[in-house]
């Protein structure tokens, strides 16, 4: 089997051109491995080889971001590599940003796996951790001996298309993707050890850093309900009998839009719930209990509201990812706006 072809990006210092005084040099391509590339070659063994190394001044890259990205991208393209690696940049800020920028561009433009490495506090880490995989390294080149084997191992997994383990197993900076793995100890023991550290005032590492919530301010109140069009949106899983869209009972992959023109009442013959998070008996007996079509229709007839919107939108909230819910909500909101809906009754179960 032939070896995977790798292109490596390094800065002027690791390219042995010079220090800060040579940071202005434009990108140049050299054949084969250079500097840290030699150590990578050793670690790749028979699996992969560095066919070309791009050496570039940190100042030149950062001061000419667009031109530099384009130039380096072209140099990579010429080699048609299977894998692109950059750095490691340790705590060198401009080098880190260059590594992140070019890895992101190569990944997007060429669709090949990319990998870089840097110190967790490198500004490039914060900028690119959710876009490209970054192996966590020491803050100086003294950490090269540990960084290269870790990067080489992960790079080979990427190029072979193998499953990537969790950040703690593979040694990359958390990239915002939650991945399962089997720890050495059971959860209760990990909790006790974490608690003992917390009590003693020692540093401890949470397994799940808390996210920050976005808060949406409510719309101003409707002044005249008698002219308002009211729609129903639910995460309670109410669907026409038989669940025509086959919305899942948990972790829903879709939502449904259902027409209720002329429907005055939801009955056990016509509607049911797809929701798997509760005893469905009462929802199935009378789906109005989850989405109040009967009452809103009555209000419409009495003139208390202008109109009940002709469609209702329904998904299952049970175990459904927030990202999925956001996506459905954005699509539903566009539909509601296009129909000039004034207000929505949102129900959940």
């Amino acid at each position: 089997m032939s070896k995977f072809k790798v292109v490596h990006y390094i800065n002027q210092f690791f390219g042995q051109v010079g220090g800060e005084e040579m940071a202005h040099i434009p990108a140049e391509k050299r054949e084969g491995p250079v500097g840290p590339g030699l150590a990578f070659t050793k670690n790749f063994g028979d699996d992969a080889e560095i066919v070309a190394t791009i050496v570039c001044g940190d100042s030149w890259f950062n001061e000419n971001l667009e031109l530099a990205t384009e130039t380096v991208l072209d140099m990579v393209k010429e080699e048609s590599p299977d894998l692109f690696i950059a750095g490691p940049a340790f705590n060198a800020g401009r080098y880190g940003v260059a590594c992140g920028t070019i890895c992101d561009a190569v990944q997007t433009e060429l669709g090949i796996p990319v990998l870089t490495g840097m110190y967790v506090e490198n500004p490039g880490a914060d900028m690119f951790r959710t876009k490209v995989l970054i192996v966590s390294t020491a803050d100086s080149a003294a950490g090269m001996r540990r960084a290269v084997p870790a990067m080489a191992k992960l790079a080979l997994k990427l190029v072979k298309g193998e499953r990537i383990g969790a950040s703690v197993e593979e040694g990359y900076i958390p990239d915002g993707v939650r991945r399962n793995f089997f720890d050495k100890k059971r959860g209760s023991t990990r909790a006790l050890e974490m608690l003992l550290k917390k009590i003693a005032g020692e540093p401890f590492e949470t397994e799940y850093p808390m996210p920050t919530f976005d808060r949406v301010p409510p719309m101003p109140a409707i002044t005249d309900m008698t002219k308002a069009t009211i729609a129903i949106v639910t995460s309670g899983g109410i669907v026409p009998k038989g669940n025509p869209d086959r919305i899942e009972s948990s972790s829903a992959s879709k939502y449904g839009s259902y027409n209720i023109e002329g429907v005055d009442d939801l009955t056990s013959e016509t509607y049911e719930t797809a929701h798997g998070g509760h005893d469905p008996v009462y929802a199935n007996e009378d789906a109005d209990r989850v989405i109040p079509v009967d009452v809103l229709r009555q209000y419409e007839k009495e003139g208390k509201i202008g109109k009940l919107h002709d469609w209702f939108y329904s998904t299952v909230g049970n175990g459904t990812a927030v990202a999925s819910s956001k996506k459905y909500a954005a699509e539903i909101a566009e539909k509601l706006i296009s129909y000039d809906v004034d207000a929505v009754v949102l129900t959940s179960t």
């Binding site: 958390p174 939650r178 808390m210 972790s251 990202a323």
Partner: protein, 427 residues
């Protein structure tokens, strides 16, 4: 309270014409065990099957997993208020058939029951693949109310486990461990005064509509937060009546073998002063959530805790209770670690919990329940594959023509347990 637990190791189960445990083998004569089960008018049929670790067997839909135990000395009997009459348990001597379980299977609602694979990748995710399982497969009569049938199936499982446990009454245990919990006065003794006062806050699923837990026979959603001894829990004072997603449901087996309780007791008097266990519910109404978490924090303060571990059951709605319990303790200066699991989407990129707070800065996770797994086809199915596509974690087409199953980890019983029963985690 002081409880001596004698463990009798079970190395196999086989059918026979009498019921007994002989040389570590459970011999099962089905007829006398099934008789009381079939007396229930809601249960149409019932039979036993045996599943051994490593066998090519898939058990589904799984309702509950129960460890057979028997009270040999001391007050009360196992599962007080459910199987035995209400009487305080947790003292004296209890015998345990270790290494086996009674598993109840068959459809309840067809939504929330799980899968136990005895071999293959699925077996890695569930602790119950390592047990010799006596599976009680039941079918309901036609035209039943799900919550009534749930109660019937729950009782059938507990009664069967108690009957099997009874076989261990006269046996000599392979190992005996003494567990002792202190009175409040004892926790202040001189010897322990430099140890941190640690409590355990155990959240019980009580959302209702088939999401229920029972304490001494009382439905937990009708309770206020209260104290319970760790040894009472070992005697089956808390049982599962849950049909929440299989992955993070605390089965009765989890309660009987609560890993937090065991880990805290193991270092009690050495690294910590394990003061007590608070149980609190997870009701759906906001007033209930506020009241229960207020009560929990009042009790934690009354016990003068320095720190606590908080465990959850279920996800979504109870995430609110979890964060309330955590923040209310933290605001009183009681340091917390919470154990939960995650619903970060199949791609792992979504927010993991439905609620969050920066005070919850010490989290242990049982893993992302949305992660997709492909379970290989297995030779034998105990129960039925009819519900695989509709069970939480499944989707239309989960069950493939070759018998393999592509589904989220949610579908596997006990896979992301929030008592910290497993080694699985996520980053």
């Amino acid at each position: 309270m002081k409880l001596e637990v004698g463990y009798i190791d079970i190395k196999g189960i086989r059918f026979g014409d009498y019921n007994a445990v002989e040389d570590g083998i459970l011999i099962v004569n089905p007829e006398p065990l099934l008789e009381p089960v079939l007396e229930d008018p809601l249960i149409k049929s019932a039979h036993f099957e045996i599943a051994t670790p490593g066998e090519s067997i898939r058990i589904t839909p799984v309702k509950d997993v129960i460890e057979p135990r028997v009270k040999v000395e001391g007050g009360g009997g196992v599962f007080p208020g459910m199987v035995s009459k209400v009487d305080t348990v947790g003292s004296g001597k209890t015998h345990v058939l270790r290494g086996m379980a009674v598993v109840t299977a068959g459809p309840i609602v067809g939504f929330q029951e799980g899968i136990i694979d005895m071999t293959g990748i699925g077996a890695d995710y569930t602790p119950f693949s390592k047990l010799h399982n006596l599976v009680l497969v039941m079918e309901p009569v036609e035209d039943f109310k799900q919550h009534e049938y749930e109660a019937a199936a729950r009782l059938a499982g507990l009664r069967t486990a108690a009957a099997i446990g009874e076989l261990a009454r006269e046996l000599v245990p392979d190992e005996t461990v003494v567990y002792e919990t202190p009175t409040i006065a004892e926790t202040f003794k001189e010897e322990w005064k430099d140890l941190p006062r640690v409590g355990y806050v155990m959240m019980l699923q009580s959302q209702g509509l088939l999401h229920d837990t029972y304490v001494y026979g009382v439905d937990a959603k009708r309770t206020l937060s209260t104290l319970i001894s760790a040894t009472e829990v070992m005697d089956g004072a808390i049982v599962s009546g849950n049909c929440v997603s299989a992955c993070d449901k605390n089965t009765t087996y989890h309660h009987q073998n609560n890993p937090v309780i065991h880990d805290l007791l193991a270092v009690h008097g050495k690294k910590i002063n394990f003061v007590g266990t608070i149980i609190t519910n997870e009701n759906v109404y906001l007033d209930d959530k506020i009241r229960s978490s207020d009560w929990t924090s009042k009790m934690a303060r009354y016990l003068s805790l320095d720190a606590a571990i908080i465990t959850q059951e279920g996800f979504g709605n109870p995430d609110t209770d979890l964060i309330m319990n955590c923040t209310k303790l933290e605001k009183q200066g009681i340091k917390t670690v919470i154990i939960t699991d995650e619903y970060a989407g199949q791609d792992g990129k979504s927010q993991s919990l439905a609620d969050a707070d920066e005070l919850a800065n010490a989290v242990v996770t049982g893993g992302n329940a949305n992660e997709v797994v492909v379970l290989p086809p297995l030779d034998r199915v105990i129960g039925t594959l009819d519900y695989v596509d509709t069970v939480a974690g499944g989707h239309a087409g989960s069950l493939r023509p070759d018998g393999s199953i592509e589904a989220e980890l949610q579908i596997i019983t006990g896979s992301t347990n929030e008592m910290g029963f497993n080694r699985m985690s996520a980053r």
